[in-house]
């Protein structure tokens, strides 16, 4: 089960570019407790150290919108200015900022203004 771009045998080739591989098809569930299975066929890559679970940025960002990713953790400590108190405001702000950033940071284009 050597993924197309995710096994570490050949150091010059095995660093996948963002968004180029390993996206799990939408809705493909992972069977709980059986992580060696490869639903969708591309999430898992074999490396010399064993099987590794690899996700690219795009896939992780897509997971952010799933319902299970939005509920606050039950054990979130209350740290003023860090995790509290205005969770709703933070949500709105995060989404706003994220949306703005996504527009400018897709693909491989330069993310920084250079004025050195």
């Amino acid at each position: 089960m050597s993924g197309r771009c995710c096994h570490g045998q050949t150091p010059s080739r095995d660093i996948p570019g963002p968004g180029k591989c390993l996206a799990l098809p939408d809705g493909a569930p992972l069977p709980p407790g059986d992580y060696s299975t490869t639903p969708g066929g591309t999430v898992f890559g074999t490396t010399p150290g064993g099987t590794r679970i690899i996700y690219d940025r795009q896939f992780l960002m897509e997971c952010r919108n799933s319902p299970g990713a939005k509920t606050p953790p039950s054990n979130l400590p209350d740290i003023p200015g860090v995790t509290s108190p205005s969770v709703e405001e933070l949500k709105l702000e995060n989404h706003h900022v994220q949306n703005c950033e996504e527009k400018v940071s897709t693909g491989e284009e330069e993310q920084f203004d250079m004025d050195i």
Binding site: I15, P32, G68, K70, N94
Partner: protein, 260 residues
């Protein structure tokens, strides 16, 4: 998931202070010298509390490792050496899946919105964000200094790459830190074996890719005793400068040439 079992909690030791090594050299040294007395006070970290193992939920996407978010903040006006590290560093929580990560991340402020002398740390579960942890004691870190306004985006890109196992260096990654400071912010990623140049080079190259670093970005690799500075050029990274000993702390090179 066999790898998860290999990450065991290390014996509690002194939590590190400033990951960056950029500021407060004197405070740092003091901390190391007079830490013995306070060590006992500090050796009751949160991890001694019995915790239920964190596992991915049904239909969630498991991560290669469990990770723990930490937050630390230096109280203004008080010398570090007199502070309990337990008061300064807090565990926010541990997650085992992509979805659990987002639950924490979406309910934490972004680093660019933190105030004061603050840090977010994201380390593999069982590795404390401090030099003395067994996983870190032979290690080092890549450091990138950022002008204000970039930390949130760079931090997100950095930790997504770490969680998604984009660095391809086996077990080498320990964790990542974002440090909010007065005039600049610093992100860093820690690995276990500072002497493994193939690993550190691969981490450096992955950082350049996932952070979209512009040319001329200063990247420093630091261990306890050495610091090597690199400049990214379009064709690759060149070694700029080699320093030995802690005198490298506070050098102005990185600040002047940081990402603008």
């Amino acid at each position: 998931q066999n790898n998860k079992a290999a990450v065991l909690p290390a014996p509690p030791t002194r939590l590190k202070d400033d990951d960056s090594g950029d500021h407060d050299q004197n405070e740092e040294n003091n901390t190391q010298k007079d830490s013995e007395k306070e060590k006992n006070d500090r050796e009751k970290p949160q991890s001694t509390t019995k915790r239920k193992a964190v596992v991915p939920g049904p239909a969630e996407h498991p991560l290669q490792y469990n990770y723990t978010f930490w937050y630390s903040r230096r109280t203004p006006g008080r010398p570090t050496s007199s502070q309990s590290y337990e008061q300064n560093i807090k565990q926010i929580g541990t997650f085992a899946s992509v979805e659990q990560f987002w639950r924490f991340y979406s309910h934490m402020v972004r680093p660019g919105d933190l105030t004061g002398h603050s840090d977010f740390h994201l380390f593999k579960e069982g590795i404390k964000p401090m030099w003395e942890d067994d996983a870190n004691k032979n290690g080092g870190k890549w450091i990138i200094r950022l002008r204000k306004g970039l930390a949130s985006r760079c931090w997100e890109n950095l930790i997504l790459a770490m969680l998604g196992e984009q660095f391809m260096v086996g077990e080498e990654i320990c964790g990542a830190v974002v440090s909010v400071r007065f005039q600049e912010d610093i992100i860093s990623i820690w690995n276990k074996t500072a002497s493994d140049q193939a690993t550190t080079a691969r981490i450096r190259d992955t950082l350049r890719r996932v952070l979209n670093l512009p040319p001329n970005t200063i990247m420093e690799y630091k261990t306890h005793t050495d610091s090597i500075k690199y400049v990214c050029w379009p064709g690759g990274c060149c070694r700029l400068h080699v320093c030995s000993g802690s005198s490298v702390h506070g050098t102005g090179l990185g600040r002047n040439a940081r990402v603008r």
